[in-house]
């Protein structure tokens, strides 16, 4: 029936909103469309999405977009020029490097840190949480105790100590942040798993002879993904701030890499007279982490309408 209608009006959205989807494909697309409609009704969330898309585009096309070399400056003619100087939109730093170009190239490092932390920490949390929630018993008790222990630690201080031991560098900073950020994901995945652990579809899969491994991997994990994605997105801002803090203390990316936190640190010496050297990278951090926060808030409201507006 709904297919017939869709054939009559090829550009109608009714096919997507149909209450009786005729295929799995249609149901999935329909759900995505409903979520998108809820998400795009939220203007702030759209702004957040715009900021993040812009960040990704800037990072991809950094070589094309940056007007100057980010690591080699013009020491003779272009030291500490104020913003708005011809050719140097956001001014230059003490080594005559164009701040805008450094910010553009720094977006790659920011994205690198955020994506890598998410790739390391989210699967770890997902596996620990789903296994713990599905297995129950002593496995659950032990895994959750470990999670709680890590959850009770101060994140920044632990990351500091870890990087201090591993040696400064952006890879070690990523590792340290990942080590401190997986526990909330495990808690969320476990809570989700518990809600449908005893539901009928799991029993049905079990009756068909699926192994626990297959159940967790194919049936439990996919259902935990949406709340996990929301949480990871909301955490991105915190990850960026921690990475910037490590960079500021000289423990993250090393010079001459244009990491935003390290740029603030190097601009600190001139803050009274040449404020822009430190101010510009901080503004970039603020905008990007604001974007991630807005996006995460919007995603949460769209995926979980129960909590909308809270």
């Amino acid at each position: 029936m709904s297919v017939l209608q869709a054939n009559e009006k090829p550009y109608s959205r009714e096919w997507l909103l149909s209450e009786q989807p005729t295929s799995r494909h249609q149901a999935r697309l329909g759900r995505a469309y409903v979520i998108w409609r809820r998400f795009s009704a939220n203007r702030l969330a759209l702004a957040g999405l715009g900021i993040i898309l812009l960040l990704i585009l800037v990072a991809i096309f950094a070589d094309v977009l940056a007007p100057h070399n980010p690591v080699q400056g013009d020491l003779r003619n272009a030291r500490l020029l104020p913003p708005g100087t011809a050719g140097y939109l956001l001014g230059t730093d003490d080594q005559g490097r164009d701040i805008l170009s450094r910010l553009i190239h720094g977006s790659r490092l920011t994205l690198f840190v955020v994506v890598l932390v998410a790739i390391i920490a989210a699967p770890v949390g997902l596996i620990i949480g789903t296994v713990s929630g599905y297995a129950g018993g002593w496995v659950d008790a032990v895994l959750m105790r470990i999670t709680d222990i890590f959850l009770a630690f101060p994140k920044l201080v632990l990351a500091l100590a870890l990087v201090a031991a591993l040696g400064p560098g952006i890879e070690n900073a990523v590792l340290a942040i990942a080590v401190t950020s997986w526990p909330p994901y495990a808690r969320i995945a476990r809570a989700e798993t518990m809600t449908f652990r005893n539901s009928e579809f799991i029993s049905a899969v079990k009756l068909m002879g699926a192994s626990p491994f297959r159940i967790v991997l194919r049936h439990v994990m996919p259902l935990c993904l949406s709340s996990l994605i929301v949480r990871v997105t909301l955490d991105m801002a915190g990850i960026i701030l921690t990475a910037a803090g490590l960079g500021f203390l000289g423990l993250g990316a090393q010079p001459p890499l244009p990491e935003w936190g390290a740029m603030i640190a190097s601009g600190r010496r001139f803050i009274l007279d040449q404020w822009w050297v430190a101010a510009m990278p901080g503004a970039a951090i603020l905008i990007v982490s604001l974007g991630f926060n807005l996006l995460g808030d919007g995603l949460r409201d769209a995926l979980d309408p129960k909590e909308a507006g809270q």
């Binding site: 222990i149 101060p154 801002a237 500021f248 603020l286 926060n293």
Partner: protein
């Protein structure tokens, strides 16, 4: 009939007693394993991660017999579990080794600098709670209004801003340009030798001794870093207050209070806020723990002589004993506040007690 009733009662009371016992056991296990976990992580960071701690001390040009002797002194030739056991015993007695930078025992250094951090975090939490709670209530009551949006934006920026950057800008504006606050540091050099604090909490000491000029100077030093940390916790507290208040305002007792003819102000500030206050206590305690940690970067900016500055200074000088000692102390206080706030929640909320 009566017989079965009484057995049921005794059985129930026995079960309650045993569930109380279980709760105590679970609590003790939680505390012990958490602290052991903290020590295990710092042990791992200090002893396992570096390629060779002995080389880190003597340098890689030292002759091999010197390296061997240092390894022996550090107990590095023992099996790992024995090293860990010694580590735990030392940590229990507050022995975190000697700081390379100051040549004092790390614990002595920490005892000297920690009050400054506590003072700063306390001021920050007071500011954050005093402003954050009313803002959150306002946002919940006027949900969807301009006021709600403004509170939301203030909170979001607080979540998104790098605190060290905001601190630098605030210094430029309020100290360099406007001259409203004192320069970075805790106390003016004029008072540094005339003022003798007793407890280490300078502001409290100065007021206690009636030295108002010193108190004013201390206030001019603490207001900027304290206000900054306050903004940080305000963002969290106002957001949580709003969500708790929205939850309370939907309850039926609010309708009943309105039907009784109580004034709206009384309903909001007395009835609803009192119920929202229970989870709020936990939130404020957690934000206090967060500020202890957040002070690491803030203290670096404001040259505030607390634990955060101590840790970052030691980091710059590769003084791992001091870094790990500071990490353990901050971690232990953090864990303790977590556990205390959990206990506090249980005592304040009768609903969690009966179960």
């Amino acid at each position: 009939m009566t017989l079965t009733d009484t057995t049921a009662v005794t059985r129930r009371s026995r079960r309650r007693a045993s569930s109380f016992g279980m709760a105590v056991v679970r609590f003790v296990v939680t505390v012990v394993t958490t602290f052991l976990g903290l020590l295990a992580v710092t042990f791992f960071i200090g002893r396992v991660v570096p390629i060779d701690p002995a080389l880190a001390i003597v340098g890689d040009r030292a002759p091999s017999h010197v390296v061997e002797r240092v390894r022996e002194e550090l107990g590095l030739n023992l099996p790992l579990y024995q090293q860990f056991w010694i580590y735990i015993k030392q940590a229990m007695t507050g022995d975190f080794g000697i700081s390379v930078l100051t040549t004092n025992p790390v614990m002595t250094d920490i005892a000297r600098v920690f009050p400054a951090t506590i003072e700063l975090a306390t001021i920050g939490t007071i500011i954050g709670a005093l402003i954050g709670v009313p803002l959150g209530v306002l946002a919940a009551v006027k949900r969807g209004s301009i006021a709600d949006q403004i509170v939301r934006v203030i909170g979001l920026i607080g979540y998104s801003v790098p605190i060290f950057w905001l601190g630098l800008l605030a210094l430029v504006l309020f100290y360099a340009k406007l001259g409203w606050v004192a320069y970075p540091g805790r106390i003016d050099i004029v008072y540094e030798y005339t003022f003798t604090p007793q407890t280490g909490f300078f502001l409290f000491d100065a007021i206690w001794q009636g030295q108002w000029d010193v108190a004013w100077d201390l206030f001019r030093h603490i207001i900027l870093p304290g206000g900054l940390l306050g903004y940080f916790s305000l963002a969290y507290i106002s957001r949580m207050t709003r969500s708790f208040m929205l939850n309370e305002l939907q309850q039926e007792y609010i309708v009943a209070a309105r039907a009784k003819g109580l004034s709206e102000a009384r309903i909001i500030w007395f009835h609803a806020l009192r119920n929202a206050a229970v989870p709020l206590v936990t939130v404020i305690a957690l934000s206090y723990a967060g500020l202890l940690e957040g002070s690491v970067l803030t203290e670096t900016i404001f040259s505030w002589p607390g634990l955060g500055l101590y840790i970052t200074n030691s980091l710059q000088n590769a003084d791992m004993n001091a870094v790990l000692g500071g990490t353990i102390v901050i971690g232990a206080v953090f864990v303790a506040i977590n556990i205390l706030s959990d206990l506090l929640y249980r005592t304040l909320d009768p609903r969690t007690r009966s179960r």
